[in-house]
Symmetry: C2
Subunit: 368 residues, 2 copies
């Protein structure tokens, strides 16, 4: 709140000093121009993937810090091994170095969508609304989000559950190019999502869902340490399961801790489909593995001693090693990386005032 | 299909000879005029509540059978005790005497709603679509019904689950007057539901929901014997929990048998709110009781031997007696009525060709 602002807008944007926008990228961030009216008041954390010597241009006027692979290696040292390279999974490094309560993460091929009335959708504002009002994971409300204007709990909804649960995650959707796997992309190359479903709903306790990282917000204080996007891309046998992995872990832990996960609004405009042939190569092991991974997470339970996200995550890593290690040795490596991730998270976050890593800010990184 | 039809429409309506429309009522059925284009091809089962000597007028041209209390008593004999009187719970008698595979039930204060483009919504057609395509109870699909045109399973959805599960129930929603309990009606007398959410979704396995009987369709062969609307109204300590009771039982049994329950589209236009003071009187015990009933159903499990809906329902009735009997003696009576219901159902349905009860048809009932 003490931060000087060049904005002359009369209203301070919601959570202006409590939310970071995390963007993984390998290119110039021209897509930010379209988001300027909504994102400019916020701080950006840009995680540059691929060649660290490449210069990423960020449009004028945005307040940002940028990390490339060299920065990640310098800040985390040997623990940098838990951060993926040449895969958008690298974005979770941004969650770790943020000092804010909330994170919004978006892909650089996502643009502002329009609602059915033709108005630009402020995706970030809707995510913030979703995060700031409770979830209803313990019983389904047929009129969807009961806290929304014009809605409420319907007849038969237990009164003892109407306070709801704190919301940890807000999962937004995509108009135009839907988030399909490679086989579906190949079979339906022309399919576009044109249906605007005007709803936000809580994913019930005990139910898993495919969490997409393209348009995602979460409460870092409530669930941050579980938002690890795994080992993907360079040197790994799998890609495009980074957000799925995080989603499975996050949901199991939210269920254990009594936290809520919402999906639905807001929509962003997903501009172009990635190459289905390339995707198939990245995904094909995941397509097999998920048939065993999902039953594993569906039956995973955490002990009473798991009273923090970190404790939950460490316990989950043990179960991953023990039960999924038999599926492929990759999961043993992943389970170890989960532990490293928590160690790195705690190192950067437990001593907030002392151990802030030196951060290159506002374009300085490219010159380093 | 051999049935002569006066309709000159070129296309035979979906499931024309496989679906009955069940309407509980105490008044003339003028509301059918508005539904004529959609309902006229179908057979109606009208369950007249209250004074059996009153004449219920049904608009010309509809094919129907009508049962009043005298008919129910005559057909079921002593087992008629399981059918509620002076409460719309009596509608379940219609489910029992139907010989069709599918049931659609609607309240007589529900009219044709319009979609956002201003077009009349054929609620029945949407319900039929919902029932004829599979559900996805085992994993959540973030783009809602994956079988709908323009949608599919998203990335990360296990391929082994993409066949889905048979759909047993389609729960439709309401524009204008939402289905609120008395306390919410009292607090928000002016609230109207104006939000058209263009989605159909499966309620995940393990999640209960408040099932409203106002606009509801189901597959009688798959789940019919569980669609008992309980003991409500005249002589009972509770009302307005008939559909809720059915919904809890149905969901537990669908989860056990691997069947799906959908909610969302279609909307009907609910014309007027019932009196909240009268409702409060009917509901207040339910408001207490549901705090114990819902945890009971949430933790209810059925044994492997329960391989039919009837077996599931009888086992559930035992658990109701044992566990909810302690909440109030009413549940002991209800548990017994659950058994009577199944006996009556089997009596009317197991010997289909022989034991069809004599039915008054097309207006003859009023003269009886």
């Amino acid at each position: 709140m003490a931060q000087p602002s060049s904005s002359s807008k009369p209203v301070v944007p919601l959570l202006k000093d409590e939310l970071d926008i995390v963007i993984p990228t390998i290119r110039n961030l021209d897509f930010l121009e379209m988001w300027r009216p909504f994102f400019e008041p916020y701080h950006l954390i840009i995680v540059q993937d691929g060649d660290p010597n490449r210069t990423i241009n960020v449009p004028e006027g945005f307040d940002y810090e940028l990390y490339n692979r060299n920065d990640i290696n310098r800040i985390l040292g040997p623990k940098a091994s838990c951060i993926s390279f040449k895969d958008s999974a690298c974005r979770c490094f941004g969650y770790m170095v943020s000092k804010k309560k909330y994170i919004y993460t978006i892909d650089d091929d996502c643009f502002v969508a329009k609602d059915p009335s033709g108005k630009d959708i402020n995706a970030l504002e809707q995510h913030i609304k979703n995060l700031l009002c409770p979830s209803t994971p313990f019983f389904f409300n047929t009129l969807y989000d009961p806290y929304r204007e014009g809605a409420d709990f319907v007849r038969g909804y237990p009164f003892s559950l109407r306070e709801g649960a704190p919301t940890a995650v807000s999962h937004g959707l995509w108009l135009n190019i839907p988030d399909y796997d490679a086989p579906t992309q190949l079979v339906k190359p022309l399919e576009r999502n044109t249906r605007y479903v005007d709803a936000v709903l809580t994913i019930p306790k005990g139910t898993l869902f495919p969490m997409c990282g393209m348009n995602l917000a979460f409460d870092r204080q409530l669930i941050g340490p579980a938002m690890y996007f795994g080992l993907m891309g360079d040197g790994q046998p799998i890609g495009r399961y980074d957000d799925m992995w995080a989603g499975w872990c996050v949901k199991v832990i939210c269920d254990h801790l009594g936290l809520g996960v919402k999906t639905g609004l807001p929509y962003i405009w997903h501009s172009k489909a990635s190459n289905p042939f390339v995707n198939l190569k990245k995904e094909y092991k995941g397509i097999f593995w998920q048939e065993e991974i999902i039953p594993f997470f569906q039956s995973a339970t955490l002990s009473k001693e798991c009273t923090s996200v970190q404790k939950c995550y460490i316990e989950l890593s043990k179960q991953v090693k023990e039960k999924l290690g038999a599926v492929d040795p990759y999961f043993i490596k992943l389970a170890d990386a989960m532990v490293t991730w928590i160690e790195a998270w705690d190192e950067l976050n437990n001593n907030t005032s002392e151990e802030v890593p030196s951060k290159p800010t506002n374009g300085a990184a490219a010159a380093k």
